[in-house]
């Protein structure tokens, strides 16, 4: 019940800021909530909207899959192999902080215009945080757990299934949560810059036409989607962390 109150409080706050900006800057700069939601309905009824949505959705899911699998593979390897981990960590952190938009032309030159470039760009954004968190997760596993596994003569499969995965999972899920956000951001930026389809294209087109209703409508949709997905992952994250503490 308290949580519902928190969400309502946040929504009320955001709504107030929105209305204030609308009153301050006028509808030419930012469409108000009423017209945005009305416009959202007309947008959703248009047949090409489903196509844009599907395009972004497909690109995002593919990018997320690459980011998660790639990030986990890199992170687990660097976590288990101590020397490569120590050599690679600062390099990873440096890569993480690069403004990757500047590298977008390279991605376009390599992958060409279209879907593969978007997917690659999203995956580039998401893969590094996943890798960093997975690496730290493995590194921070309590050595006594591993010694216990050896004392109990668990074989490799048992060690992975009953010791390593449960111990590292909470941190890995935290990494996936950040990877999720950044992958979405990457795909959208990719679409904004060089694409003729997808939500990012809708937005950048609307920016060009100063169609503030579309900008706000897409912003609301994106935020809602990201917030719900994040809340689910956060709940999972908390449950895993709590289980780790009580066990």
């Amino acid at each position: 019940m308290r949580r519902v109150g928190d969400v309502l409080l946040l929504l009320a706050g955001l709504g107030a800021v929105w209305l204030a900006l609308n009153a301050l800057a006028g509808s030419d700069a930012i469409a108000g909530p009423g017209e945005t939601f009305r416009h959202m309905q007309t947008m959703a009824a248009r047949p090409d909207f489903a196509r844009h949505l599907a395009e972004t959705g497909t690109a995002f899911l593919q990018a997320l899959a690459y980011a998660c699998l790639g990030g986990l593979a890199i992170g687990l390897w660097l976590g288990f192999h101590r020397l490569s981990g120590e050599v690679a960590e600062p390099i990873l952190v440096a890569l993480y902080s690069l403004p990757k938009v500047t590298l977008y032309p390279v991605v376009l030159l390599i992958f060409g215009l279209g879907m593969p470039a978007k997917v690659a760009f999203g995956a580039i954004h998401g893969v590094i945080p996943v890798a960093i968190f997975a690496m730290n997760a493995v590194r921070n596993i309590d050595p006594t757990l591993l010694r216990t596994a050896r004392a109990l003569r668990l074989d490799l499969r048992q060690t992975v299934a009953t010791v390593l995965v449960p111990a590292a999972l909470p941190e890995i899920v935290s990494g996936l949560r950040i990877g999720f956000s950044l992958t979405l951001l990457g795909v959208l930026i990719g679409e904004m810059f060089a694409s003729k389809r997808g939500l990012g294209f809708l937005v950048i087109n609307a920016v060009g036409l100063n169609d503030t209703r579309t900008i706000m409508a897409v912003a609301v949709m994106l935020f809602t989607f990201a917030a719900i997905a994040n809340a689910l992952l956060l709940a999972l994250d908390r449950r895993l962390h709590r289980r780790g503490e009580t066990a």
Partner: protein, 250 residues
């Protein structure tokens, strides 16, 4: 430098060497990427061009302003939000989803509010960086050991003394992490909005070069961005290591 440092340098050098070889042998086409050595040559030439120096200076200034604003505002906001648990619980989903929404889409709104010029770009950088600092501040203050709070009470410290002698030093490593992230994000925000929207600055010059098939300028400037960000990061990293060593000695 330590053995690890040399090893790291070797790995990076080997990767660059590999890229150079692939480009020189033609495995990577000239239109896709120019060899790294050519990038360096292009960069040196660009740095002698006064017009380019103006763009670079403009971007660096915008990043610096966005960063300072984000650090100051983020820290204060973090302290305030932590003092109000109700507000914090309500804001948490917003802070968690912040980085999934591309802020450049609000550029038209920012132009109306802040006018044409540098301010909208700075605001995007600030909006991007500030949340990292807020989250880091919250994290840092959360990790102050409870026993130290009791120590403060035993010594009858007042609020200001407690903040200065206990909370701030305890939270410092987290604040530094936040500063590192804020640096990265203000670079990303400023350069990305220049890239997509603005008519000047480093980001715009890269986009302009890309649109004109001017690979030399484009790669030269990319190299500059990479070098700048990495150098700033390394400086913070070295400072952090030194602080950690001091702490473990003390």
């Amino acid at each position: 430098m330590t053995r690890l440092g040399w090893l790291r340098l070797g790995v990076v050098a080997a990767l660059i060497g590999l890229l150079e070889a692939l480009c020189r042998m033609g495995a990577i086409g000239r239109l896709t990427m120019i060899p790294p050595s050519d990038m360096a040559v292009a960069l040196v030439k660009l740095l002698q061009d006064p017009k380019m120096l103006r763009h670079i200076g403009e971007t660096l200034r915008n990043v610096a302003v966005a960063l300072v604003l984000a650090l100051a505002f983020g820290f204060v906001a973090g302290v305030v939000i932590r003092a109000l648990p109700r507000l914090r619980r309500a804001l948490e989903p917003l802070l968690a989803t912040w980085y999934a929404v591309p802020f450049f889409m609000f550029y038209p709104l920012l132009i109306v509010i802040f006018g044409l010029g540098d301010l909208p770009v700075i605001m995007v950088g600030f909006l991007f960086a500030v949340v990292a600092m807020i989250v880091a501040t919250l994290n840092g203050l959360d990790r102050v050991p409870r026993v130290l709070g009791k120590v403060a009470r035993v010594h009858r410290l007042n609020g200001a003394a407690r903040a200065l002698l206990i909370d701030l030093p305890c939270a410092a490593p987290y604040l530094l992490t936040g500063a590192k992230l804020a640096l990265a994000y203000s670079f990303i925000g400023v350069i990305a909005s220049e890239f997509i929207m603005s008519g000047s600055g480093l980001g715009h010059e890269i986009a302009f070069a890309y649109n004109n098939f001017d690979n030399r300028t484009m790669y030269g400037l990319m190299l500059l961005v990479i070098v700048l960000v990495t150098a700033a990061n390394m400086a913070l990293h070295v400072y952090e290591q030194r602080q950690l060593r001091k702490r473990s000695r003390g």
